[in-house]
Symmetry: C2
Subunit: 309 residues, 2 copies
């Protein structure tokens, strides 16, 4: 938003926010400690970070070595995540394609020949799955965000994933930017995980509780979000040559050192650092922000990764 060549100046201002924020905002005394996300993350202790769980992390590779790292959340959709892992183990997605990119909505991938005699075999993985659109709230280590939500009674995070809940019995993964789900047809059980989608627009929260979310793109969502939009209905590509091929999808644990997932770690959403980060986005103390929002939507929360130290 800032002038392009004025950027350095702005970055300097942001870095100086701890100094600026006292007098600039008329406080009696500058509050101590880190204020901007950069400062907060720099000051974070090692125990506030965790490695990715390589046994449930997928690496999708597109041409030109564009890699998308997806951590699955079996606590929410255990059968779907198991089936997707089974499909990945049998090499199901290798050579398939991005089928659909609908602007401000989703990027979807799977078999261009699904439903045709030439379709790739899904078996021995399951071909139908019972709906796993919600799960019991009980037993979830829920880090609640008290800022409210238009769609659900409660929102927050569970182990790095945005989560919503009725506040009593049920919880579900929330359709925030970067979330990954299992496409389905009209029938509840029609999504076996052979066709997956990632959210690439304003969070379509009306999909919550209607479809199984199975995880989140931890790194590389831009490779899915910047693809050419499909020109057919619902953003499907109209011609096979418009589709971006999928080179491979692998489980990170099968790759040497976990591949690109093995060299990063993510901030724990139940950590003090994460709580500070949320507050830093709710009330920005960066010199640029004149009117602090005072609130933050769950889908506007930052979920940082960093190279493993």
């Amino acid at each position: 938003l800032d002038g392009s060549l004025l950027m350095k100046r702005i970055l300097a201002c942001i870095a100086a926010a701890a100094v600026l924020s006292g007098p600039a905002f008329g406080k009696d005394k500058p509050s101590p400690g880190p204020k901007t996300p950069t400062e907060i993350l720099a000051a974070s202790p090692a125990e506030d970070w965790r490695p990715l769980d390589l046994s449930r992390t997928l690496i999708m590779t597109l041409p030109q070595n564009r890699q998308v790292v997806i951590e699955l959340a079996p606590a929410f959709a255990p059968k779907a995540t198991d089936n997707v892992l089974a499909l990945v183990r049998q090499g199901y997605f290798d050579g398939l394609a991005i089928l659909r990119v609908q602007d401000n909505y989703v990027t979807q991938w799977g078999d261009p020949n699904a439903g045709e005699p030439t379709a790739r075999l899904i078996a021995p993985a399951a071909r139908t799955l019972p709906p796993e659109w919600t799960r019991p709230l009980k037993g979830l280590p829920f880090t609640e965000l008290k800022d409210g939500d238009v769609y659900a009674k409660k929102v927050g995070w569970v182990d790095g994933m945005p989560v919503a809940s009725d506040g009593k019995q049920e919880a579900w993964l929330a359709h925030c930017y970067g979330m990954v789900g299992v496409g389905r047809d009209v029938a509840d059980d029609s999504g076996p995980g052979s066709e997956l989608y990632a959210v690439i627009g304003h969070s379509p929260r009306h999909l919550d509780r209607n479809i199984a979310l199975i995880g989140r793109v931890v790194k590389g969502i831009e490779h899915l979000a910047s693809l050419p939009r499909g020109t057919g209905p619902l953003g499907f590509y109209e011609k096979p040559e418009q589709m971006t091929p999928i080179v491979s999808v692998r489980i990170a644990g099968q790759l040497k050192g976990g591949g690109p997932a093995g060299v990063i770690e993510m901030l724990r959403t139940d950590s003090p650092t994460f709580a500070r980060l949320v507050e830093s986005r709710r009330n920005r103390d960066d010199g640029w922000t004149k009117v602090k929002a005072g609130k933050i939507e769950v889908c506007n929360g930052l979920l940082p990764i960093r190279p493993k130290l």
Copy 2:
């Protein structure tokens, strides 16, 4: 989300929603009238649509004739929209470039040489502008959305634009997907409209009341949202050759027949059809949706256009 080749089946189901919705959801009697967006728009009277205001609509053309149609909203930032129109009249943006694409945030364009001796002249347009980040609520024909909002007391629409308000004195354009604003530096008055941005991710509502929004991409946002992401800090491109050049920016009224803006019309957000459309997205009666959201966020509202009849 649906199986790619199962799409036709789904579309058929959606078309049959009026039939399905009675028995399928256990109602005593199917409610009459159009239910899906397609049906609602097909049944809309002509007076629920309006042409674009060509005197305040911009046509940005990128290479390969990718055109972006932006309607400005002078009721919210009159000085900024006037200055942007003045810049466009003097050909300011022609030959400049997309400078920044930050994933899940903004696409920003302007002068790659801003701040350098080789920068393009902004004068005779104004070089600074007073902040126009809010305006009086009074006098605005506000179509309120009663579903609540995390960031503001009130939200709704004014003449095709998403709007938020404190419910008492002030109103402001809301940073929804596709909104266009005026980049600024740290100083309040540092954004003359020579650098503009469009929202291409989950709505960054914390920017509300901190920067002047001047309008909305009515058509062609995908040309800004699907660009390669910049790899520098904040998504700025690091090399000039990575930047997409801007062929031209014109006022639609200067083009024959208004160019691409002259052949479309938009649904009036104060129309009965729009109210029906909002309800159709709040409680989807399409056969596919099993649990209706019951709510909708202002930034999830559809703002349809169609070819002029």
